[in-house]
Amino acid sequence: MNLYKNFYVMNAMSTRAERKQKIVLPSTPFFTLGIAAGIAVIPISNALKKTDATNIQVVSPNALSMLLNDLYIVLSVSLLAILLGIVCAFYLEEWLPKTNWVRRFIESHVAVLTGIPSVLYGILAISIFLSYAGTLKVINGAPAAQDTGARPFQRHTTLFLGEGLIFILMVMPVTIKTTQEALRSVATPVREAAYALGASQWQVLTRHVVPIAFTRMLAAGCRAMARAFATAALLIGTYIWHYTAETDGMSSRFLLFLGAALFLSVCSSTLVEIHASIYNSDSA
């Protein structure tokens, strides 16, 4: 018998009758597949319908500003997803009982989503982008009268949302999983000791669990970021390739593409390295 099987569960004075009526949901990955298909299909079909591109002209694209701009988007979306993921992991691990159906539902999907290689997400994002690309027009050195105040590389909202969602879907499950692992690595006796001294759950979390799990959570964030950068490398390379079509020659486009992809890949693998070194120093 596993003594600690429900260890993280609070508020246990449930009656036996209550426990009898547990909801059992099939924890299959079909939901995930549905979500993925939905994300792929909805914006693409939207893109096919919309051809009005008058207000989404891109003014004076230049490779560096595009790169920075998109990097900015990737970074902010991923950071947001990491924060959300951490909050989500805390909620699942520390507040919901292991048997709770919401927790089982999310955990089974997290398991599936973390198993998908980031390249696949990248391909999905590129396919969405390309289906929109036709509606984006590049103007090199637009006349003042036509300048609508659009920033370089401003994109269609739906496109942005679609890709943001992909990054969230890619980064959040990894964060949730690794953060949960970090929280679980905090030994039970530590929690017990603190609870037995009268600490509230909040105090146990803030004074012991978080400080102990912090380095691992940092490592978790690095890993999730690495995943985002790996996909961003593919995506941003494609953007550059596309937007420099009217301004640059073939070879310089190719060099830009390669440079951006390489730069981001290096970022990604550096983050993986940092993750590994934090993780090792923590368990040592």
């Binding site: 429900n6 260890f7 609070m10 246990a12 004075m13 426990r19 000791a193 037995a196 001294l197 509230s200």
Partner: protein, 254 residues
């Protein structure tokens, strides 16, 4: 005589498994009471009822009444932090928090008092007092900043007792506090308990019958979730009324 802990028909289930069956017990004030019985008979479970840490397991159902210091601990107006402040617990494996010795001792006090309300001089004094009462001050006074988990096991267990003291508990529950210690450590902890008894009510689970005989005034024998016999230690060991008690006591004492 007053009773610190009183239960009436206490039953407890883990899922569908009943671990405590109609336990009614009265633990006297200011004494050491020991709790013996074969493994798995529910000693730890009973102990963990008294500060309500059992609930954390999640699949626990409790029935019956538990009164601690004259108050039913399942009353809705009972505050868990206050209950756990009054009822300290020492675990089977020493579990100091992975922070400094100094902060270990202050942890309980810090969570029960407003932020930054304890001055440096106060805290120094509290730490010295607590460590002195468990006879660790001489050994540890130069190691206050050391991480508590790096101490010897015996010191860790004594520290686990010391960190309860600043909270001024009324009752100290101990779950086989010496099972991780060697003979010398065991004696040291026993000695400590005897000195502290009187100020605190001790309820100690032990596997070691010699220990139960040495330290406790009253002794409770449990078997498969039931309380079989509860008498003066001497009487329980020398003249057990119940067959099962006799078997258990003689099995080890042949």
């Amino acid at each position: 005589m007053n009773h610190s802990i009183e239960t009436e028909n206490l039953s407890l289930w883990y899922g569908d498994f009943q671990a405590l069956i109609d336990v009614s017990v009265k633990i006297p004030d200011g004494q050491i009471t020991s709790l013996i019985g074969p493994s798995g008979c529910g000693k730890t479970t009973l102990l963990r009822c008294f500060n309500r840490v059992n609930e954390r397991y999640g699949n626990v159902t409790t029935e019956g009444k538990i009164e601690i210091l004259g108050k039913n601990i399942y009353d809705p107006d009972v505050s868990l932090p206050e209950l756990r402040k009054a009822v300290g617990m020492v675990f089977q494996r020493p579990n100091p928090l992975p922070i400094s010795v100094y902060e270990n001792i202050l942890f309980g006090l810090r969570i029960h008092s407003p932020m930054r309300s304890i001055t440096r001089t106060e805290s120094d004094q509290i730490v010295e007092e607590a460590l002195t009462s468990v006879f660790l001050w001489e050994d540890l006074k130069d190691k206050l900043k050391v991480r508590a988990t790096s101490l010897q096991l015996e010191q860790q267990q004594k520290l686990c007792i010391a960190r309860l003291l600043p909270l001024k508990p009324k009752i100290i529950l101990m779950d086989e506090p010496c099972s991780a210690l060697d003979a010398k450590g065991t004696l040291a902890v026993e000695e400590l308990m005897e000195i502290l008894a009187g100020t605190y009510t001790f309820l100690i689970v032990t596997h070691n019958m010699a220990q139960a005989r040495r330290v406790s005034e009253e002794c409770i024998f449990m078997f498969l979730g039931e309380l079989i016999e509860h008498r003066e230690t001497q009487a329980l060991f020398e003249d057990p009324k119940h067959e099962k008690t006799a078997d258990y006591v003689q099995m080890r004492y042949g």
